[in-house]
């Protein structure tokens, strides 16, 4: 599966994300694929089952925009910055409509992607003994250890129709490299039928191949590669730009008022043609505040056989 997979975000989303699909947008606090999520909003997809360990503001926005009817997740708030009010309105008041949720712990959710990627019928973990979570979620089941230590909880595979991730870089074939917090991106990609990777930069194959241990998602698992600089904003890309924590704080009052949230979607997503337009609207000055100073990893050698 060689050959360039580079395309535009509009084309990638149009080609791979369809109404009613199960879509994983992964990125644990870091490298959250906001630009791709915003494009799903622009294309007005409906009735998606959204899979994300930490739904974050991105899910709140997709819910406000009416794209999502079901949520598979393990944390229903926005990191340190408080509640996601659209999620709360849906769950607590069924306003404007109920939201079906399927809930795990972080490791339970991660193990679902692992089982999905490995085509295992289930994955055991040590969590949940004594917890009410299995009663709430009948997909959490248990099996007896055949070695005599009693029963252990298991989770079933999660195999999204599409997984979308953001990374620092990939080559045109889709060999994808990320560093910093790597989240559930690799198993979520391998678990999916189709994978879209957005990156800060499409780089030469030689750049990737100089450091193959950094490739966490090889080309064979990737269907579309899109260069989207700043594509994780307001989350961050390690070494590229920092989290827009001010935006995270600003979202709380926006999210609390459904009309304001709708207006935000209209202005910032439907009101911009693409992510470049969104960033232009954000402005150079705000972006300047997110810049980070370089902190080089240093280079190691892989060696070449001589003679």
């Amino acid at each position: 599966m060689t050959g360039s997979k580079v395309t535009t975000l509009a084309e990638a989303v149009a080609a791979h994300v369809r109404d009613g699909m199960t879509v994983a947008l992964e990125g644990f606090g870091h490298l959250i694929p906001f630009a791709a999520g915003h494009e799903i909003i622009r294309q007005r997809r409906r009735d998606l089952t959204m899979c994300r360990m930490t739904p974050d503001i991105l899910t709140d926005q997709l819910l406000v925009a009416g794209c999502v009817s079901r949520l598979v997740a393990s944390f229903f708030a926005s990191g340190s910055a408080g509640s996601l009010y659209e999620i709360r309105r849906r769950v607590e008041q069924h306003d404007p409509a109920p939201l079906e949720t399927e809930e795990y712990s972080h490791y339970g959710m991660y193990c679902r992607y692992e089982a999905g990627a490995k085509r295992l019928p289930f994955q055991p973990l040590l969590s949940y003994v004594g917890s009410d979570l299995p009663a709430l979620n009948p997909r959490i089941r248990s099996v007896e250890s055949p070695y005599g230590e009693g029963r252990v909880y298991v989770v079933p595979p999660l195999n999204p129709d599409v997984t979308i991730v953001h990374a620092q870089r990939a080559d045109a074939n889709g060999n994808t490299q990320l560093w910093g917090i790597t989240g559930a991106q690799a198993p979520a990609a391998y678990a999916a039928s189709a994978v879209i990777v957005t990156v800060e930069e499409v780089v030469a194959p030689e750049t990737v191949r100089a450091d193959p241990n950094r490739t966490l998602i090889p080309a064979h698992a990737v269907d579309a590669v899109v260069e989207v600089p700043g594509g994780a904003h307001p989350s961050y890309a390690q070494g590229c730009y920092d989290r827009d924590s001010a935006f995270y704080r600003e979202w709380t009052p926006i999210s609390r008022d459904r009309e304001r949230a709708l207006a935000w979607i209209d202005e910032w997503i439907h009101g911009t043609a693409d992510h470049a337009g969104y960033l232009a609207k954000l402005g150079e000055q705000r972006w300047d505040g997110l810049r980070v100073a370089p902190a080089p990893s240093g280079s190691v050698s892989y060696g070449r056989r001589q003679g």
């Binding site: 644990f28 606090g29 870091h30 930490t54 997740a73 393990s74 944390f75 229903f76 708030a77 990191g79 340190s80 910055a81 999620i87 709360r88 769950v91 607590e92 069924h94 809930e103 795990y104 712990s105 972080h106 490791y107 339970g108 991660y110 692992e114 973990l125 040590l126 969590s127 949940y128 003994v129 004594g130 917890s131 009410d132 979570l133 709430l136 248990s142 007896e144 250890s145 230590e149 009693g150 029963r151 252990v152 560093w179 910093g180 917090i181 790597t182 989240g183 559930a184 690799a186 198993p187 961050y236 390690q238 920092d242 989290r243 924590s245 980070v292 902190a295």
Partner: protein
Amino acid sequence: MTADSSARVGGSSTADAAITEGVTVDVSEVPPHSAEFLATVAARELAGRHRVFAGVGLPTLAVDLAKRTVNPGVELVYESGVVGAHPEAMAEGIADSVLVSGSEAMLSMDALFGYVLQGGYVDVGFLGAAQVDRIGNINTSVIGDWRRPEVRLPGSGGASDIIASAREIVVVLRRHDPAALPEEVDFCTSPSPVRARRQDGFHQPQGAGVTTVITPLGVLRRPDRDGELELAAVHPGVTVAEVTGNTGWDLRVRGDVAETPRPRTEDVRLLREEIDTVRLYLR
């Protein structure tokens, strides 16, 4: 072993003996319900511990303070995969880039939850909660009926994974009333080993569960893996009756109940001027 248990009752003006070795230092008058007070008390719990798994919120603040005061060598572990963080600035959340840059290891989440946590390397799991009950069950999921809750809380995150495998759990609560400390939680997200044991035939978790709950009124401890929470210390100006009256069950009071030493002014200065300069947690 902990700062609290070595402190005297009765509003002494000398600060935590474990820190100052008898030298008199300035103590701060910040109220016991303040984030500064809670964070300082929480930080002292980390004296002598090797490895701490810090959850979202106030725990992030407390571990930062601990690393600057009582335990510079403490190894900070985060569910995002960071091991041995050396943040140059306060982390605004458990996935902050400052935790990653300069850390000793950036593991996959599978290695973090599987090898580090389930592998038994975490001494203290440091969590926030909406409710903690008599035997140390934690609720971070819903208030009310989970089919249509009054309040949809954040859910488990890593908490129900952490409680199963961390050697012990320290919880910081920002309220102390019968709703936050009920006889039994509305929903058990992260179970006490007492509750786990009722699930007959299951491979039992290795963790001792919640051993310490720090609240705006005092410190509750659950010294016995099979036991219940009891009052170990009251904060300055708080009476034992106030604590028991605001707890949702008939709270046992230890014979040697202590008074929590106040934060040092230096602790409060560090929190305000060097750690949480943006007032993210110090609300």
